[in-house]
Symmetry: C2
C-alpha cells in the first residue's frame, strides 16, 4: 500500500512536469500565432487549452483521493497541497496563452502586433518560454537555487513590459487607440504568465524549505 502511495506521489509530480511542458508548448505556439497572424496556430492553442484544463482536473482529483485515503503526514501533506496550488498556476498560464491566441484570431488577417513592438513580443515570448521551462525543471528537481533564480529571471519580463509602455507613449506611436489597447492587454498577459511561473517556483521553495515568500504573485 505504502509503495503504491509513493509511486502515486511521484506520478503526480511527473504529471505536473508534463503539464508545465504542455503550457510551454502553448506559449511557444501562441507567440508564433501572434507574430505571424497565423490563425490555424491560434486555433490550435485555443482548442488545446481543454487538455490543459483536463490535466488540472486529473491532478487535483488524484491529490484529493490521496488526502482522503492515505491521511498523509506533514511532509507528504505539503507535497500534495503544493501540487494543488501549482496546478492552479499552470492552468491559469494555459488560459493566458489562449487569451494571446484570441487576440491574434480577432485581428486576423491583420497583425495584432505592429512592427515597432514586434521585437518586444518576440523577446517576451522567449522569456516566457524560458520561465516555464525552468519552472518545469524546478518541479522535477526541487532545486531551490534554480527556483529562487526565477524571481530575477522574471525581471526581464518586467523590463520588456516597461519598454512596451514607452513605445506606446512615444510621440511617434502611429497606430491609434485600438492597437494600443491590444498591446496593453497582450503585455499584461505575458507579464502575468511570468508572475505565475514565479509563483510555481516559490511553491517549490516553500515545499523544500518551509519558507514562505509573500504568498501572492502580484505586480501592479
Amino acid at each position: 500500500m505504502r509503495d503504491s502511495y509513493r509511486e502515486e506521489l511521484d506520478d503526480i509530480n511527473a504529471c505536473l512536469v508534463g503539464m508545465a511542458n504542455a503550457v510551454g508548448s502553448a506559449m511557444s505556439t501562441a507567440t508564433t500565432a501572434l507574430l505571424d497572424a497565423d490563425v490555424a496556430l491560434a486555433d490550435l492553442v485555443i482548442a488545446g487549452d481543454e487538455q490543459i484544463d483536463a490535466m488540472r482536473e486529473n491532478i487535483e482529483q488524484r491529490c484529493f483521493t490521496l488526502l482522503a485515503r492515505q491521511q498523509p503526514v506533514a511532509g507528504d501533506l505539503r507535497v500534495i497541497t503544493t501540487a494543488m496550488r501549482m496546478v492552479s498556476d499552470l492552468e491559469r498560464m494555459g488560459d493566458l496563452c489562449e487569451h494571446i491566441s484570441k487576440v491574434a484570431r480577432m485581428r486576423f488577417p491583420e497583425h495584432a502586433v505592429p512592427q515597432e513592438v514586434r521585437p518586444a513580443f518576440l523577446e517576451a515570448g522567449h522569456v516566457a518560454e524560458m520561465l516555464i521551462a525552468k519552472a518545469g525543471t524546478v518541479i522535477a528537481t526541487r532545486d531551490v537555487e534554480a527556483a529562487r533564480e526565477l524571481e530575477t529571471d522574471d525581471d526581464a519580463m518586467d523590463a520588456i513590459h516597461r519598454e512596451l509602455f514607452r513605445e506606446l507613449l512615444s510621440d511617434k506611436w502611429p497606430h491609434g487607440v485600438e492597437t494600443a489597447i491590444d498591446i496593453t492587454l497582450l503585455g499584461r498577459y505575458y507579464e502575468r504568465f511570468g508572475d505565475h511561473a514565479v509563483g510555481v517556483a516559490r511553491r517549490v521553495v516553500y515545499l523544500v524549505t518551509g519558507e514562505r515568500h509573500v504568498p501572492e504573485v502580484s505586480h501592479p
Copy 2:
C-alpha cells in the same frame, strides 16, 4: 477533540466571510479613490492589502493544521480544500483593489478616469461590491441558488467592460493613448475581480453539490 474540530471548521468559515468583507471594503474605497483622485484613500487600500494577505496566511495555516492533525473524512476534506481555494481568489481580489488604487495614486493630482467613462467605472464599482457582498453571503450560507446567480450577475460587469471599449474606440475619444492604457488596465482589473467572485461562488456550488463547473474563471 471532535467538538473543537467542528468549532475550528466553523471559525475558518467565519474568517473567510470576514476576509470577503475586507475585500468588499477595499473595493469600495479603491473605487472612491479612483473616481475622486483621493490619494489618502488610495494609500489606505495599498497599506490595507497586507492585512488581507495576513488573513490568507492565517486561514491557510489553520486549514493545513486541520489536515495534518485531524485526518478529516471526505466531506470535511472538501470543506478544507475548498477554503484553501477560496482564500486564493479572495487574496487576488484584494490585489486587484490595490492595483486600482495604484493607478489613482500614479495619476494624482490628475484624475485617472476622464469624465466620459466615469459613469462606467462608478457602475463597475457598484457591481464589484455587489458581487463580493453576495460571494461573502454565499460562503456563510452555502446557498447554491444564490451562488449560481453570481454567474449571471457577473454578466453586468462584462457588459460594462464592452461599453468601455466602445468609448475608447469611438472617434470622439479625445484623451490619447496614455489614458486609453489606464482605462484598459482598470477595466481588466474590475473584470477579473468579478471573475474571481464567480470563482468563489463556483467553489461553494462544488462544495455543496460536488458539481464541477469548468474549474477556471477565465474570460478572454
